[in-house]
Symmetry: C2
Amino acid sequence: MAVRRDPTRRPTLVDVAAEAGVSLATASRALGDSTLVTEQTRRRVHDAAARLSFEPNRLARSLRRGATMAVGLVVPDIAAAFYAAALRAAQGVLQEAGYHVLVVNTERAAVREREALGTLRAHRVDGLLVATSGGYEDIGVPVVFFDNLPPDPGQCAVAMDNERGVALLVEHLAAVHGHRRIAYVGPPAALGEGTPGLAHGAGHERLEAFRAAVGRAGLVLPPEYVATTGVEPSETAARARTDALLALAQPPTAIVAGVDRLTAGILRSLRAHGRRVPGDVAVVSFDEPVYADLLDPPITALERHDGELGRRAAELLLGLLRGDEPPEARVVRVRADLRARASCGCGDAAGRTPADS
Amino acid sequence: MAVRRDPTRRPTLVDVAAEAGVSLATASRALGDSTLVTEQTRRRVHDAAARLSFEPNRLARSLRRGATMAVGLVVPDIAAAFYAAALRAAQGVLQEAGYHVLVVNTERAAVREREALGTLRAHRVDGLLVATSGGYEDIGVPVVFFDNLPPDPGQCAVAMDNERGVALLVEHLAAVHGHRRIAYVGPPAALGEGTPGLAHGAGHERLEAFRAAVGRAGLVLPPEYVATTGVEPSETAARARTDALLALAQPPTAIVAGVDRLTAGILRSLRAHGRRVPGDVAVVSFDEPVYADLLDPPITALERHDGELGRRAAELLLGLLRGDEPPEARVVRVRADLRARASCGCGDAAGRTPADS
DNA sequence: CTGAAAGCGCTTACAG
DNA sequence: CTGAAAGCGCTTACAG
């Protein structure tokens, strides 16, 4: 007797209740598998719901309950491999826990990030996962930062171990291959367009880590050896920076790339100038470029743990949403591991390391 | 006089109305910039809202209006470069139009896709953008397919020009470089785990296009020259397929990769077997791998238009949401352009083409 | 032009 | 264990 008044209208709980011959309240409880309901009624209501192919309206539920089971995910650029992979992992965890994910792309602009947060607040998301471009502002829900550090030390974050990562790269160049003129081409220390040089960016950390590591190695660091790009760490910017490095009276013999995309630009510049890698200039990259082992030459880099980063951020947020106390150590660091290939000077003549087999 | 009863509670329209000294209805109209309101009241209400930093609850609005201004985006794998780029572009367009985007990852499994659609329906999304894994089912909202073809010819879709793309690759190998033993390693013709071999997949189209192109070129196509992977077009699968091709009595002299990821696996297999590219075996790829020009050797492939694909799909959906008639040609094709590099045999000795400068 | 009232579709104290 | 009723925060006919 699935009698629907208007067949185009989606069935509501009222329809289900009528179909099952119970009250609205009972229908709601039965579908929610409340213990306050007989097994018999429970089944009757479930059957009725199935007959009408009823799908409860989550909007109404959220409005009533005051929780949306939605999480906002704010990223500078979803098309960047790092964010895409982190997003994928985070979403897996969140989806598993019954949350759905609203993704917003800020294009690395603080203004757009603020707009995005406004929208997310209007949608009453229960929590936030943020890779900030410098426009973060509190919207009154639990938040976990990823990639970058939290603006406020009380907040939680998951980030790469930037310091150790950069140290691994620099030490390898200096200690193993004996380089003494090492330059850096990295993302800016500031977080996004229209933001001051905030101290909580991965860019900032990597830059400082580079300075420190070079110092520890006892090398001289001419100011010209430190080059950063605009907010968009583009290949063209990296290429231009590298061109400038090569034009120096004392060009570097090795370059550390602060982000994978920059590596491509650096390689193109070197190629255009006819410099051999690693013969004339060695190149190492913070994040491993896609197909690093198939590049010419294979690129020495830090292994990617994007997924782990996203997963752990999501787990942290889930904890906060559950009402758990935030962990003592607010910033979770994801370990950095060096993967030596040919671009730093390692490997056989063909530039292949055994591990790539 | 921003008197809030409970400061932790978010302000509602009732608060704004009280603050502005008007009725709830008037407050609503004023904020909606209705013409039924004096300029003076309008301003008064807007000021009050600003003072309370009121953000209307979209849940309530959506419930009342019956439209959520949300669009669901269903993809097999957001971490794949193609989907990430398409998503980014689609989201830009949608966001611009005031829609927000719910992203779900189906992991290429039909079951997960069905679940995702259920959730999306429960959230009452206004429309759908779907790169199906074979689990699509109607949830009663406008939908635009992308990457794959629509299951139903009346529905809209945006897809690559698979036929022409594959033809370009095969013809180039045959006509320009004189290959007569061309093999194909591609994604499966079926759409996802647990789905029959539906005829609307890009994989299906590319495979058929390959057969047709080889036929047109007047070449023989031994069945063993056609290899497809499981639903997940993984590098390892491609490597295994290539290993098998190389073990044939008459191995191919050229391989067409149906998806960028497979290209990596093919190259690794060739490398492991000590075959030179393009000397021993030429390789061309349907979608251009990331950093194609920096790979060893630089890879001949079709230029990427992922963004255009995503953008056009979003625009199409926006049209449907506006109530426009769907375009006469339901399937929009994105053009394919060949970019010849060294892996097919083009370019100078260093394997570089002039265009890569 | 403004206001009182109904209603979107749920959930959940409050009675029984 | 079940039901009648209030209410989440908006929008929008319906009167004036």
